[in-house]
Amino acid sequence: MSRFAYLAVLVLVLVGTGWLELLLRTRVYARRRRLALTLVPVVAVFCLWDLYAIAAGHWTFDVERTTGVVLPGGLPLDEVLFFVVVPVASLLTLEAVRSVKRWEVGDEAPGDCVGGVRVDADVSDGDAS
């Protein structure tokens, strides 16, 4: 099999979730800044984990079926992309569920409307009408 086998799986994930942004208006890609600020620490932490695992021999990669682009520490580019693609897919899923079910996620501003119900302001706010 080709060097793009791993990459193909990632493309599958991107395509499989990308439609949510368009059809369910998840607005994950649209909120670029928030997405970038989320991804930076995630990619950093999981690349470190990966580097440790590679150094300790926990797992190895098939050189025939990865791009062959390897970062210092033996980290394949494919893995780094995995830590971008999978988190994006998980956010698209979260926002898609919110889009459909109108459930609270926890980032709503007090006073905003979720599923026809106003999110509670602080306890001190007695005005419920």
């Binding site: 086998a5 791993y6 799986v9 994930v13 499989g16 369910l24 208006r25 998840t26 607005r27 994950v28 909120r31 800044r33 928030r34 989320t38 995630v42 932490v45 999981f46 984990w49 440790y52 695992a53 300790a56 021999g57 926990h58 797992w59 190895t60 990669f61 098939d62 079926r65 990865t66 830590f83 999978v86 988190p87 897919a89 998980s90 956010l91 899923t93 979260l94 926002e95 898609a96 569920v97 919110r98 889009s99 079910k101 109108r102 459930w103 609270e104 996620v105 926890g106 980032d107 709503e108 501003a109 007090p110 006073g111 905003d112 409307c113 979720v114 106003r118 302001a121 706010d125 005005d127």
Partner: protein, 134 residues
Amino acid sequence: MTYTELAVLGVAVVVVLDLGVLRTRLLRRRVFWTSYAIVVFFQLVTNGILTGLRIVRYDGAAIVGSSTPLDAPPPFLGDGRIAFAPVEDLLFGFALVVLTQVLWVWLGRRGVQRTPYSGPPRIAMPGAAEDARR
């Protein structure tokens, strides 16, 4: 540390982060568990491809089960494997997903592109804007 130990540690860290440190409390919301149910299904499929085709191979010393065989796929189920992948991968994936979603929600709560929310435009309720400013 083994992969098993690290994976358990990873889950513990994100749980503490969500419930204790950042207090996003996603793990107590049905929106999280519903989305996670969807994510974990597709994780089993995609990770099954990566591990079943042996694009990623595991060392038996680091996981509950045994090493990925050199010339054959690992067991589909059993010997510490679920859909070809080590059970540890489920914990790894859980930590990855929770960390991502917790940071996303935390940033939104701090006002980083909190809106536009997902879904069609919400109906503004009278007085909502005034309340938000208080």
